[in-house]
Symmetry: C2
Subunit: 244 residues, 2 copies
């Protein structure tokens, strides 16, 4: 087991973003991976950034508190943005948050997202001309922002690494751990968090899943989220969900 | 998509336990599964129980807040206890927490744990004569408490469902969702949280992993955790780690 040792190099900071209403596993899956990496590899630290250090609700009964404000960590090396449902889609119109993301991303060597977090990167203008992914239900929403949706578990395009829905953040984070510290370090993290998945009903059988039946739900979430922003809703075409 | 409907039945409460220093993914993985189940199936609610509703640190820079106190939800239908490293092993000697677990478990139809959370159930006297599992590094610590360790992803013995380390909580929770609401409902949750794992370096290759090399680390964690409780440390044999 590698233990923490002092290093002359300044720590590389992996910064996760927290904002009210996130899908909490979007944040915690990759955070756990990167925190375990930071515990076992010198020169890496993790932080959770928020507008203020105060509790915020999630899409579960758990509330969370960031460790730092955006102002306290202006130049992270890695930035990861989690997603969510209504609150995240509403945040596509939150210019304060989008400005925070642009600023934090400006000097980062890796800009990542989980689930609909990529829609915030897209709304911030960061994914124009890039291949990207997001939760399967909202994938087509990347198009009006100039990004090209790809139905992969995670998509890497230059410094941008976007993950598919929720649990995909764990896979992406292990990939990122490998990129930051090498495959051996990433595999050690995987062992320590015992990520050896055995879904009791197997993986998702996409061919047998009627994803189109969820389109009305997606449209409902988007419409509710952008009720106060008809111009953005119109730009998004009311959500051209799951078109072929 | 099933939507929430009113039901004449009182809600079944799935209660997660939070205490300082937990491995946050132990809590959030299964919480996200059960919260998604509660969002899509009538008659199920999730809560997060703590001694007080105040922020507590985790093994990452994220702090968390429970939604309810133990006193507010004395009789959950399902109880799930997350684990951690030093703070969890230290909590094996925390009679206040152990009494809370015994009380909350007393009327529950399912008592679950993730990772070293099972060591708290064991220390509370709840796993005597039961088959159980925990994080691979600490599996042998179940023995002095009268439980029989099993190296499975999760182990069900009567009303007890214990999961292996950290990420195993997601698999266990989907199994639990199936038990609570049927396989179709569990599969829908899996789709919504896009749990279709694709670990970038594959699963854990146990045959190629020198788990024994981690025994000194396990012993160090246990010794630090129980420094103030030599009698319990002695009962645990100083941690007979990874014996064959």
């Amino acid at each position: 087991m590698t233990t923490i040792t002092e290093t002359a190099q300044p720590a590389r900071t992996v910064a996760f973003v927290a904002y009210p209403g996130i899908t909490v596993l979007d944040l915690v899956g990759p955070l756990q991976v990167c925190a375990a990496l930071a515990d076992t590899v010198p020169g890496i630290r993790t932080v959770v950034l928020g507008e203020r250090i105060e509790s915020m609700g999630t899409d579960t009964p758990l509330s969370v508190l960031p460790s730092h404000t955006f102002d306290e960590v202006p130049d992270p090396d890695v930035l990861v943005v989690p997603g969510g449902l209504v609150p995240t889609l509403a945040a596509m119109a939150d210019e304060t948050l989008l400005a925070r993301l642009r600023r934090a991303a400006s000097g980062a060597s890796v800009v990542g997202s989980v689930c609909t977090g990529s829609l915030l990167l897209a709304a911030a203008g960061l994914l124009e001309g890039r291949k990207a992914t997001t939760h399967w239900l909202f994938r087509d929403l990347l198009v009006p922002f100039g990004a090209t949706p790809v139905a992969d578990r995670w998509v890497e395009d230059g410094r941008y690494v976007t993950a598919a829905g929720v649990a995909a953040g764990i896979d992406m984070a292990l990939h990122l751990a490998g990129r930051l510290a090498g495959e051996d370090a990433a595999r050690q993290v995987q062992l320590l968090i015992e990520y050896d998945p055995q879904p009791p009903f197997g993986g998702i059988d996409w061919a047998a899943t009627d994803t189109a039946s969820y389109a009305p739900f997606g449209k409902q979430v988007l419409t509710e989220a952008l009720a106060g922003h008809p111009e953005l809703l119109a730009r998004l075409g009311g959500g051209p969900f799951l078109r072929k």
